[in-house]
């Protein structure tokens, strides 16, 4: 489904600040996998997502999504394969536009846009229907601008927008990190529900070890641009925080990761 082959990314190449952010990583993510990626600050988690989504391109290596080579494909051209949710809840929606306008834009992910009305009447009922899932009463606020909503509400909206045009790969970039614990849990539950119901192939970057252990069927730990460990299936299910600390504690200098 998603294949990274020998990916390498160096920032500030040729200067004293040169930093190898990703050091020859090869990964194969199968269809339907829910992979959690964990690692301390600067381990290369977000860089890996940025390379996958085309924010910038790798210095070496190739990237394939469902068989097509996308290594040098511009970000907007990859959109039909990818859905992405950012850490900052403000990033996923256009704040000056209404809920239904945001939905309508997500509806057309990766498609050519024309001069038809932006919000198709026939779709409005559908938007209302999926908004009911949130139980926040947003189904009656289709014409409110998104700027009126809280961070958690906006992040939930972004998740629903992903389901409008199911991407082949869903990238979650610490998408609950800037929410309060209660809201974070709600958003995480919704994520789990959406991923399961639609059998989405998902990569979730997180800073939170229990979260990385609890969700998904595969867990990858990055350290200084390399894969530290990569476990899946039964072994992943049986994993506990204590176990990770016991096995990899020596390398885990980042205390925050374990809290």
């Amino acid at each position: 489904m998603v294949k990274l082959e020998g990916i390498r990314k160096i920032f500030s190449k040729g200067t004293i600040d040169e930093k190898v952010a990703i050091d020859r990583i090869s990964l194969h993510i199968k269809k339907g996998d829910f992979v959690t990626i964990i690692g301390s600050n600067g381990a290369g988690k977000t860089t890996l997502l940025n390379l996958t989504s085309g924010t910038f391109f790798p210095d070496e290596g190739e990237i394939f999504i469902s068989g097509s080579r996308v290594t040098q494909l511009a970000e907007h051209r990859r959109a039909k394969y990818l859905g992405r949710i950012f850490q900052n809840p403000l990033m996923g929606t256009a704040s000056s536009m209404t809920i239904e306008e945001n939905f309508a834009m997500a509806d057309l992910r990766g498609q050519t846009r024309g001069l038809r009305w932006g919000v198709a009447k026939a779709r409005r009922e559908h938007y209302r229907e999926i908004l009911k899932m949130l139980e926040l009463g947003l189904e009656n606020r289709l014409k409110d601008t998104v700027s009126l909503l809280s961070g958690g509400q906006r992040q939930s909206l972004t998740l629903l927008m992903v389901t409008l045009s199911l991407p082949k790969l869903l990238l979650l970039d610490e998408h609950t990190a800037s929410l309060d614990p209660k809201t974070a849990q709600k958003v995480m539950d919704l994520t789990q529900k959406i991923v399961e119901e639609n059998n989405l192939t998902t990569v979730m970057v997180t800073h939170n070890m229990p979260q990385a252990i609890r969700y998904g069927n595969r867990m990858i730990m990055l350290h200084e641009g390399k894969v530290q460990f990569d476990i899946e299936g039964e072994e992943k299910r049986a994993l506990t925080v204590e176990e990770v600390v016991r096995r990899f504690g020596a390398e885990l200098k980042d205390e925050a990761l374990l809290s």
Binding site: A74, H76, R84, M91, S95, M97, M105, L108, R113, W117
Partner: protein, 283 residues
């Protein structure tokens, strides 16, 4: 009233695309120059107006391309185009101004009506400006219009949804400057001449109009924004003419307009905590 189109154009670049586009000072006389030259060549004025619109569109696209493809800072890209257009306008006209008083223009049939000259002309401009407002509103509620608004609002988000934001910027600036050039073409015919210096201070005047409009009406939706530009430019012209009548020297007009914009933008910043109401994206 014809100046209202300038404000509408500026709404698209400054407010919707969040792109501080300074091309306006050049594309306004560009529209005037094109229409004046073509009328002198004996081409029907209506074609001249369309040619002016197209030229304005292309000028805006050039600014957009300078910014997106050559990665030139948005302000600088506008200044470059404005400067280049100065020469272009001189080339188009062949001299620094063209008189249109003695020839037939688009407005001549209206002027020949058996009434006060101003009423039918103001009516005509009102209709044109209103039509453009409605068309703009409609455009910004289409799929492409949404993509353009999102480009100004949250570029990252709309790019991940598969929109080429560079193209949206180029197209938006094109449309914006097409409005401005149309305005230039109409103003030249109204006042009876086209002059290479007539674009000076156009942006500031347009901004002043928008600010006035948004203070009066707010800017919550696109429809409200375009309406604010429309109403704002009428009120602006009214304020200016009252000012002139009260003894403001015409020479100080641009300074007064500039000070007006500075006050409008500066007061919220000085009154901390009350910020935001007048926060113009792109300014």
């Amino acid at each position: 009233m014809a100046y209202g189109l300038v404000a509408s154009g500026i709404v698209i670049s400054f407010r919707i695309l969040a792109f501080p586009d300074l091309t306006v000072d050049g594309s306004f006389p560009l529209g005037a120059a094109v229409v004046a030259r073509l009328i002198m060549e004996g081409i029907p004025p209506i074609y001249g107006v369309f040619a002016a619109i197209i030229c304005g569109f292309l000028a805006g696209c050039c600014t957009g391309l300078l910014n997106t493809k050559l990665k030139i800072n948005s302000l600088l890209a506008g200044i470059l185009m404005m400067t280049i257009l100065y020469s272009v306008n001189l080339r188009i006209m062949g001299r620094s101004n063209i008189q249109l008083l003695t020839v037939n223009t688009l407005l001549t049939p209206l002027e020949n009506l058996d009434v006060n000259r101003f009423i039918p002309i103001i009516g005509f401009f009102f209709v044109v400006a209103l039509c453009m407002k409605v068309l703009t509103d409609m455009f910004f509620h289409t799929q492409i219009g949404f993509a353009m608004r999102a480009t100004g609002d949250n570029e990252q988000m709309i790019r991940t949804l598969g929109v080429n934001t560079d193209n949206m910027t180029v197209l938006g600036l094109g449309i914006s400057n097409a409005f401005v050039a149309l305005s230039g073409a109409l103003v030249a015919q109204d006042q009876g001449f086209s002059d290479v210096g007539m674009g000076m201070g156009m942006i500031v005047a347009g901004l002043a109009s928008i600010i006035i409009g948004e203070v009066l009406l707010g800017a919550k939706t696109v429809r409200r924004m375009t309406l604010a530009a429309f109403v704002g430019s009428i009120v602006y012209k009214f304020i200016i003419s009252v000012g002139l009548r009260l003894g403001l020297a015409p020479t100080d007009l641009k300074m007064a307009t500039g000070v007006m914009v500075i006050l409008a933008l500066g007061i919220p910043a000085l009154k901390k905590g009350k910020e935001g109401k007048l926060h113009l994206r792109g300014v």
